[in-house]
């Protein structure tokens, strides 16, 4: 496809400029060069544009049964703001309000930057990126707009195993591998996790620093490779980085108390049917040190995954409609206390078995009306309440 891409990159004016060799350039040549930059902004201005977008989701959740009222909440309201300074240089951002508002002394509520970065595109194969980034791990962390997933809430796995929406400050490179390879990649160097926030029930979630005056003691490497065909997307992601955050009890090295994450995911659509699945394993080799320092019950290993199948019920009734009514079922299994230090047995409550069934109605591909029922089970005898939920979501 992009066999002639160099022709896309170099406009005639660029070729002329590029043909002068820098070391022998005269001041006169420089003046011409400088003049050309002065005349160019007029041309470049046509390419400037600002885009506003966003997504949101409103939830009704009832975990207490039909005899008592449920809870309603504007779970997320996110404004997407992007500006293209030129055909190649762009700023992209997402600003989020969770739970409608933030009030002093009240639980819940958050105003946060979810993303804020600059992209410079050299070619389809290479875009440089710097800022507050989303580690490209699994399906949901990067693609989390409500119409893109079934269920009112994101999978619980994407809360307790993969801590979505995971974001941190860093730099990286991304692109598609040229030709029709179907491969695309992202590799980022970002700020690391902080072990003091790890927990028994939510794994590494509390260790995210999210770019808020964060300690930059443990730069971490994260990336993803994705292979795409119409109807099929396969991906693999990783994270590697220390989490000691200069705490003398743990260590001062950049990769001390390393966290290693590997995940694989697949999405497949054929006719009215769609399937997706994801697995991940997180290794914390020095969990014993972390537990000794903070007593937070962190395990050496956190593992889990889910499988989901859906069918478009409108495919048979109205094959030419762009609307969809998806019936889906999802089964999740994950354990945030897989392998405790010293051979201790993990809390069976934390070995979860969650099944969600429900409907997603998409009047258009970017609006979703959802209803589902979640059976929360685990390996203990302690029953967790089942949850009935309704939701509205959109993205544009």
């Amino acid at each position: 496809m992009f066999e002639n891409y160099s022709q896309l990159i170099f406009h005639p004016v660029t070729r002329k400029v590029g043909s002068m060799s820098l070391p022998t350039k005269s001041v006169a040549g420089l003046l011409i060069l400088f003049a050309s930059t002065l005349t160019l902004p007029a041309a470049a201005q046509d390419t400037q544009s600002t885009t506003i977008g966003g997504y949101g989701e409103i939830h009704y959740t009832n975990a207490t049964g039909p005899d008592s009222p449920g809870e309603v909440n504007v779970a997320r309201f996110v404004v997407y703001l992007a500006h293209s300074f030129s055909d190649r240089l762009a700023m992209r951002s997402e600003l989020e309000v969770e739970d409608t508002k933030v009030e002093g002394g009240e639980p819940g509520g958050e105003i946060g930057l979810e993303q804020l970065y600059l992209d410079y595109r050299f070619s389809p194969a290479v875009t440089l990126r710097g800022g507050l980034l989303l580690p490209p791990i699994g399906i949901i962390n990067e693609t989390h707009e409500p119409p893109t997933f079934n269920g009112v809430n994101r999978p619980a796995y994407d809360h307790d195993v993969i801590p979505t929406t995971w974001r941190d400050i860093g730099v990286g490179v991304l692109g598609t591998i040229p030709g029709n390879s179907g491969l695309n990649y992202r590799v980022y160097l970002v700020n690391g996790l902080k072990a003091s926030g790890f927990s028994a029930d939510e794994g590494i979630r509390g260790g995210r620093q999210e770019g808020k005056e964060a300690s930059f003691a443990n730069p971490s490497l994260t990336g993803r490779l994705e292979w795409v065909r119409p109807g099929l997307t396969l991906g693999g992601s990783f994270w590697y980085g220390g989490s000691a955050a200069q705490d003398p009890a743990l260590g001062t090295g950049a990769f001390d108390n390393a966290v290693t994450l590997l995940s694989a995911d697949a999405r497949y659509e054929t006719g009215p049917f769609a399937f997706r699945g994801e697995v991940a394993t997180i290794g914390i080799a020095d969990a014993d040190q972390i537990d000794a320092a903070y007593g937070n019950g962190v395990a050496h290993r956190i593992t889990g995954g889910y499988l989901e199948a859906s069918a478009n019920l409108l495919a048979g009734l109205a094959p030419n409609s762009s609307q969809k009514l998806l019936a889906f079922a999802r089964h999740e299994r994950f354990n945030t206390q897989g392998d405790l230090p010293g051979g201790a047995t993990g809390d069976p409550v934390l070995s979860r078995r969650i099944t969600t069934v429900g409907l997603t109605y998409l009047p258009t591909f970017n609006v979703a009306i959802k209803g589902d029922y979640t059976f929360n089970r685990n390996r203990s005898d302690t029953a967790q309440p089942d949850v009935f939920a309704l939701g509205l979501g959109y993205a544009f």
Partner: protein, 170 residues
């Protein structure tokens, strides 16, 4: 006049700035060489083309010698935040010959340029359904671009077919 070392330090960023500015110019149009390469890929290396202005459109009429090979039009749709410049080509019987993505500018969704996705459009006519799901399969992770390009192709295919049938592309 030779530039001394001190000045050269200043010159380097200026040169880079100039390069960036120059490379940034001229969006939303396909570079002529890219357009020609696309026409030759779709219609064969012997094809030549000229532009026919009809209504507000610039339709490319593709010929080889005396024989008409078909028509093509370049258009833009908006992706998430940038235009996607694409080309739709039809044969003289108004069947879609091929779609090409001439310039893709966003960091995500570039999979719409893959041949495996674009070839789904071949052979369709303005009377057919040209919609995501039937018969165009979507791509997970490129949903916005898939919907944008599909609706753009549907619009351009209808425009080309209409102008051709009304005899405006002579």
């Amino acid at each position: 006049m030779r530039i001394n070392q001190g000045r050269r330090i200043l010159v380097a960023p200026l040169f880079l700035l100039a390069l960036v500015a120059a490379r940034s110019a001229g969006a939303q149009k396909a570079p002529p060489a890219r357009l020609a390469a696309s026409i030759h890929r779709i219609f064969g290396s012997g094809a030549s083309f000229d532009s026919v202005a009809v209504d507000s459109l610039h339709v490319l009429r593709v010929t080889q010698g005396d024989s008409l090979l078909g028509f093509a039009e370049v258009s833009n749709v908006k992706g998430k935040d940038q235009p996607i410049t694409f080309l739709v080509a039809i044969d003289p019987s108004d069947h879609l010959k091929d779609v090409d993505v001439l310039v893709y500018r966003e960091p995500y969704g570039g999979q719409v340029a893959y041949e495996q996705w674009r070839r789904q459009f071949r052979g369709l006519t303005a009377a057919d359904s040209v919609r995501v799901g039937h018969p165009i399969r979507s791509i997970s992770g490129a949903t916005i671009s898939v919907h944008a390009v599909t609706s753009g192709v549907r619009r351009v295919l209808a425009q080309l077919t209409d102008r051709h049938r009304r005899g405006l592309l002579q």
